[in-house]
């Protein structure tokens, strides 16, 4: 029954989306409020029916309804409930349904909370949004229907891939999709603006919350994916430049550029056509990422079930949406020219440089990801592009960006002098230099590159705090004035400080891990110990355990340092009989600055077991830094000014607060 309800709801949603897509552009006598009301209600209706469909699928999974082929292929009666639910999106069909659900959520959110957006723009944006929904609903109904029925339902299902039986699955895809799909709103607004032929500071202000929200969620989604891979795959890797990881990084990079570009449009009414282009490209990169994961075109740790028909359909969707938008851009971009000016050294130009560097880096990732494919298609070699390539291309381009990142917020709008701006950042530069020298000292000059990046990390962290300190006139005014200014500083500014500092933390984490991670691999027996970086790890015991749907060997370890117990860990080698698969559950100890990581390997048949013991300094900083960036984004999002139509004058205006 749930299959029929779900299927029918999807068809209804498709119908509603069609109407929603056509209404704003239909050649009827235009009464904007009426059309806007219709489109708003259509968006809500879309959400209602897609939610019903999603609920039906979830119900089918939870009740182990094996008459649905997707449930039979991916679930099992013995699977724990959490994984029955999160398994709804652990497969291609279900994840596409999650995709359109989030698309509908964003559409409904704009319909409900977008009253400050004028009717014309809002209804056109929702119309474009609905076109995307039509495309994807057709894709689901025609090629990836989760409600396909099996004529002879099996007694039990095939179970879920054990790697996916993890809380990570409950969070990683939803957050990722909130990001990917969230950028569809920026796309819709960009295309709507092109159709309208008008983009101004107000447009940027209305669009910014949606871009910010999508960006924050994508940042969290990518971070969760990295952390999940770290503890699940068993060898402590956290980023592989895997095509699917790159597919999430590219929209993130473009989205960051979009975010900053929209800022310039909002404040200075400049960079308008560039921002619109980024709005189109960011979502296009999300779509291309979707294509990559589901078409079987590339080999990856991540790939969903490969089916060429699906790949072709998505390619068509990309062609129509991106192609259409770019053609529109080609025709209408000239109408968007603004006349504002700024000098070569100014915050605007800093943001332009930011855009250039981010685009270059996004292009690099794009090139590295697709080059093997292109070469293969041309009939040439089969090549691989892995971490060594990205280390030599990505890193050199992102480094100047990291340097500019701290300087940018210190630059004045419209016109500034480089020497003066650098002078303001003196303390941060000193902090960076001191760190550089300290690291060289600690490592006896061995890791110069790492020292440089540690220096850059402090430059970023201190630089961001410095900008805040200067804004509240710390040191140059009375302390009470500074405290008052802290209160009137808009949240968006705190968002800037926190996000940029978060990036600094991330850089420190990456640099530390790249140079100072160490490991030891040995065959161990209970009672034996190995030593690494001052830690001693002793294997206490090893025995068999049984989980809800697996059998495992569990080894218990104790880690001590200078004879004090640091941690007791265990690691398991699990075997899942339903899927005949083996995985490792690693034991990890963290103090939020470094990790100790233990993974149990194979038995040598004679009572000894291969054990890998890793010391991962600064690993947690990578994720803490990334989450801090997302926190900064959320802080900005909570800024009251983003929720009102026009900038409000604060009642307590203090004299000559510098324009920010």
């Amino acid at each position: 029954m749930s299959a029929q309800i779900g299927h029918f709801s999807l068809l209804l949603a498709l119908l509603i989306s069609l109407m929603q897509a056509l209404a704003p552009f239909a050649p009827v006598k235009r009464r904007d409020p009426a059309i806007a009301a219709f489109v708003d209600h259509a968006a809500l209706g879309q959400l209602v029916f897609i939610s019903i469909a999603f609920a039906s699928l979830t119900y089918a999974f939870v009740t182990s309804d094996f008459s649905l082929s997707v449930v039979a292929a991916n679930s099992h009666t013995t699977k724990p409930l959490l994984y029955k639910v999160s398994g709804v999106w652990g497969n291609h069909e279900g994840s596409m349904l999650l995709w359109v659900l989030i698309l509908a959520v964003f559409g409904a959110a704009v319909a409900l909370y977008g009253d400050n957006i004028p009717d014309r723009l809002r209804s056109k944006a929702l119309g474009v949004h609905a076109m995307i929904a039509v495309g994807f609903l057709l894709f689901i109904i025609l090629t990836s229907n989760p409600f396909d029925i099996l004529p002879n339902p099996p007694a039990d299902g095939s179970g879920l891939n054990p790697i996916l039986q993890d809380p990570g699955l409950a969070f990683h895809p939803p957050f990722l999709y909130l990001g990917y799909v969230g950028f569809s709103m920026a796309f819709s607004f960009s295309v709507a603006a092109l159709i309208d032929g008008r983009v101004d500071a107000c447009w940027a202000r209305w669009v910014r919350p949606w871009v910010l929200a999508a960006w924050c969620f994508l940042t969290i989604g990518i971070t969760l994916g990295s952390a999940w891979a770290y503890y699940t795959l068993g060898w402590g890797g956290w980023w592989f430049w895997d095509p699917v990881e790159n597919a999430s990084l590219m929209p993130w990079l473009a989205g960051t550029a979009l975010l900053h570009s929209a800022l310039v449009v909002e404040r200075r009414n400049a960079l308008v056509s560039w921002t619109i282009l980024l709005g189109i490209l960011t979502f296009s990169l999300s779509l291309i990422g979707t294509f990559l994961v589901r078409s079987g075109v590339l080999t990856s740790v991540h790939a969903f079930a490969q089916d060429p028909a699906r790949g072709v359909f998505i390619l068509l969707l990309i062609f129509l949406s991106t192609g259409g938008a770019l053609v529109l851009y080609g025709f209408r971009a000239s109408k968007l020219k603004t006349a504002s000016s700024f000098s070569i050294v100014s915050r605007e130009s800093g943001l332009v440089l930011n855009n250039v560097l981010l685009s270059a880096v996004a292009f690099t990732v794009f090139l590295g990801t697709f080059y093997p494919l292109i070469i293969d298609m041309i009939g040439g070699d089969k090549i691989s592009v892995g971490p060594p390539y990205y280390n030599r291309t990505f890193v050199p381009i992102i480094t100047p960006l990291l340097l500019v990142m701290a300087l940018g917020p210190a630059l004045k709008w419209k016109r500034d002098e480089l020497r003066a701006a650098l002078g303001r950042m003196k303390i941060a530069a000193i902090a960076g230099a001191v760190t550089l020298l300290a690291v060289i000292g600690f490592t006896s000059g061995r890791d110069f590159l790492t020292a440089c990046f540690m220096g850059i990390s402090l430059w970023l962290i201190v630089g961001s705090l410095l900008v805040l300190a200067q804004r509240v006139r710390l040191g140059s005014s009375s302390f009470s004035t500074s405290v008052k200014l802290l209160g009137t500083t808009p949240r968006a500014f705190y968002g800037l400080v926190v996000a940029h500092a978060g990036m600094g933390i991330l850089v420190a984490g990456i640099a530390g891990m790249a140079s100072w991670a160490s490991e030891k691999i040995e065959v161990m027996r209970p009672g034996q110990a190995i030593e690494l970086s001052g830690y001693e790890m002793r294997m206490l015991s090893i025995g068999d355990v049984e989980g809800p749907n697996y059998e495992a060997q569990r080894a218990n370890f104790e880690i001590t340092r200078k004879a004090r117990v640091v941690s007791r860990l265990y690691s398991e080698r699990r075997f899942y009989p339903v899927r005949q698969q083996q995985t490792t559950a690693a034991g990890i100890h963290t103090n939020l600055i470094s990790n100790l990581y233990v993974a149990l390997g194979e038995s040598d048949g004679a009572g000894g077991w291969t054990v890998r013991f890793y010391y991962h300094p600064f690993m947690p900083l990578v994720w803490i830094g990334a989450l801090t960036m997302a926190l900064g984004g959320f802080l900005s999002l909570s800024d009251r000014r983003l929720r009102v139509g026009a900038p409000q004058r604060s009642a307590r205006r203090l004299a000559a607060v510098p324009a920010e």
Binding site: S158, H302, Q306, K382, I383, V385, I521, Q580, G601, E602
Partner: protein
């Protein structure tokens, strides 16, 4: 325990093997019995392994993967190093047998020229483009902010300035 039949409908045989190989792997790769006794050679082997791909896995180096083929490649690499080959020679030996696909760092050859040069080229071109854009914006500054005043406006301005000046 009820073991259900494996559903590998859509996967080819090779993909099946690689999937099994990947998933049967627990922790990563190098086992103690593979490691060379000479630590200098072993560290060379580890570094080189990180740049060699496990060709049946999905995007892992032979250093990370526990697939049987990755094991074979690690052993092969160490044999060549132990036999006195330079880094270059040992890698070339493996490439001769497995093709360029096994290199995680793509080789610099005619058909990968754009791959290696592309990023720098993109950066250069966009920097040039934007410096032109910036210069045009900076040049626009004086003309766009003011247009010449009309006669009456100029007179009013003079009067106002005189007023202010006399204060």
């Amino acid at each position: 325990m009820n073991r259900s039949p494996r559903h590998f409908r859509t996967l080819t045989r090779a993909a099946q093997i690689s999937l099994l190989a990947l998933l049967i792997s627990p922790a990563g790769a190098v086992t103690p019995d593979e490691m060379l006794s000479d630590p200098a050679l072993e560290s060379r082997a580890r570094i080189l392994s990180q740049e060699l791909r496990c060709v049946v896995c999905q995007n892992q180096s032979i250093d990370d993967s526990n697939a049987p083929l990755a094991h074979d490649l690690r052993v092969l690499l160490r044999e060549r190093l132990a036999a006195g080959d330079t880094d270059r020679e040992s890698v070339d030996y493996i490439v001769a047998r497995y093709g360029n696909f096994v290199l995680l760092k793509p080789p610099l050859q005619v058909n990968t020229l754009f791959l290696w040069v592309g990023p720098a080229l993109f950066l250069l071109l966009s920097l040039i483009g934007f410096s032109r854009y910036l210069r045009s914006r900076a040049a626009n500054a004086p003309t766009e902010t003011s247009s010449p005043l009309s006669e009456s406006e100029q007179t009013r301005l003079d009067a106002l300035l005189d007023e202010k000046g006399s204060k």
